[in-house]
């Protein structure tokens, strides 16, 4: 097994045996399940758009809690010294932590797929916005997990890591509001930095490479910076 495989296995075990993971999963599924049931009961419309927007907010709030321990806990317990003196490239350590957290979020999204199944069984939903919505949520999860991992690599305090990660994600969410006060061409840049702007198009069933590129490029940037933080000693 490669070093990445060994590290992924360890991180997956740590992630899926953590009580934090189960608390987050419970909150996520409880809140989305409650909203799905109520929305369906009152509107009788086979549509998940409202749920996708709620998942968007929940992921922004909950992913920092999932990722806060990634490096902060290793720093606090000094176990990072063990990993960083083993014959393993730092990028594998970062990727293993990223993939383990992403796997958990993907499981949450997969579990929420039950709502789409219910709609398909009892109605005739338009599937394009549903596929687009789940793709958008997965790409959003990639970005949020990578920002959380970066934040966790900067401190040994998990609460500080979660708070900083939440702050960055919220600023990205509201970035487009600043377009009203900055001059061109900065306003275009600020609008294009916004999380929600790139999310809404997916949920409406329109797929643009630029939106996917936004999430992927920022995710790669955050992972690159995390590797630099871990490597720079």
């Amino acid at each position: 097994m490669s070093a990445l495989g060994v590290l992924c296995r360890k991180e997956l075990h740590a992630t899926f045996t953590s009580p934090i993971a189960y608390a987050v999963a419970a909150v996520f599924l409880l809140v989305t399940g409650y909203t799905f049931s109520l929305t369906l009961f009152f509107t009788k419309v086979a549509n998940l758009t409202y749920i996708f927007h709620q998942m968007y907010v929940l992921l922004i709030l909950l992913v920092p809690v999932l990722t806060m321990r990634a490096f902060a806990e290793e720093r606090r317990a000094d176990t990072l010294e063990l990993l960083l003196t083993a014959p393993v490239h730092e990028v594998w350590i970062v990727l293993a932590k990223f993939l383990a957290a992403l796997a958990l979020v993907t499981c949450l999204l997969a579990a929420s797929g039950a709502y789409a199944v219910v709609l398909s069984v009892y109605g005739e939903p338009d599937l394009a916005p549903i596929y687009g919505g789940y793709l958008a949520l997965f790409l959003l999860a990639c970005l949020l997990v990578s920002i959380g991992t970066l934040s966790s690599s900067l401190t040994e305090n998990q609460v500080v890591a979660a708070t900083c990660s939440l702050g960055v994600c919220l600023m990205l969410w509201f970035a487009d509001s600043a377009a009203y006060i900055v001059p061109p061409p900065l306003d275009t840049i600020v609008i294009n930095l916004s999380l929600i702007g790139h999310f809404t198009t997916f949920v409406s069933g329109s797929l643009f490479l630029s939106d996917a590129g936004y999430y992927l490029s920022l995710s790669l940037l955050a992972l690159f910076l995390t590797t630099r933080v871990v490597t720079d000693r």
């Binding site: 097994m1 060994v6 010294e81 063990l82 990993l83 083993a86 014959p87 393993v88």
Partner: protein, 242 residues
């Protein structure tokens, strides 16, 4: 002072430290240290807290990068050929970092696989190293339930599991009771026949009883390197230098 350090060149040293310094801004943690360690030797780094022992060991293991100078282990540069160098080092940090949620066997297998041993080879290595450090009856125990003495053994076992040429121990007897100190000392002496050991300590008697040579550090500088057998009064030497 420099003539006391006497970095005598050694043919085919397992560890070569050449003019190594480490600075944090204006603070100099390690200053221009040159030191060679032959195969099979137990070298004790002796010095008060803050003398640069841990920083020097961390640079040797690749955890920290030197500001200047170069270090090599078994001929591999710890910066340019860091993966090759790290494969030849087993390291036990002072704080005994362990994944306490894991069982002993699980942790040792993880560390073995991380260092490139595959399935069966990793299992065999875990069994062997557990016998070597007398951990056999604790392999199934969760690490969080172990005493400080047993945790020390687990930490040493993870450092030995890939059969390294060099074992680096940072304050190996720190926090142990007298019996555990004696057992750790005997373990280090046993290991010395098979591999090179570099250990740090701020306890003069520990170095005197365990090491073949002693390197005395103060304020990040190497003050002297002496063979223990040729130093009848280490305490007087230490006091005269510091």
């Amino acid at each position: 002072m420099s003539q006391l350090a006497s970095p005598v060149p050694i043919a085919d040293p397992i560890v070569a430290i050449e003019g190594v310094s480490k600075r944090y801004g204006r603070v100099v943690a390690v200053c221009e240290i040159t030191l060679h360690v032959p195969r099979g030797e137990v070298l004790g780094l002796l010095g008060p807290n803050g003398s640069g022992k841990t920083t020097l060991l961390r640079m040797l293991t690749g955890y920290l990068s030197p500001t200047s100078g170069r270090l090599s282990v078994a001929g591999y540069d710890t910066e340019r050929e860091r993966m090759d160098a790290r494969r030849r080092i087993g390291y036990v940090p002072e704080s005994l970092p362990l994944y306490t949620h894991m069982r002993v066997s699980e942790f040792l297998r993880f560390m073995a696989r991380l260092r490139g041993l595959d399935g069966n080879a990793a299992d065999t290595a875990v069994t062997e190293v557990a016998a070597q450090v007398a951990l056999g009856d604790r392999l199934a125990a969760p690490i969080r339930t172990l005493s400080r003495g047993y945790r020390q053994r687990v930490a040493i076992a993870q450092a030995l599991v890939h059969r390294p040429d060099l074992l680096v121990l940072d304050e190996p007897t720190n926090g142990l009771d007298p019996r555990q100190i004696i057992e750790t000392r005997h373990l280090i002496r046993r290991l010395a026949g098979e591999r090179t050991v570099i250990m740090s300590s701020h306890i003069l008697g520990e170095v005197e009883k365990t090491a073949d040579r002693v390197a005395i550090l103060l304020g990040g500088r190497l003050l002297a390197v002496r063979a223990i057998a040729e130093t009848p009064d280490l305490e007087a030497l230490f006091l005269s230098l510091t």
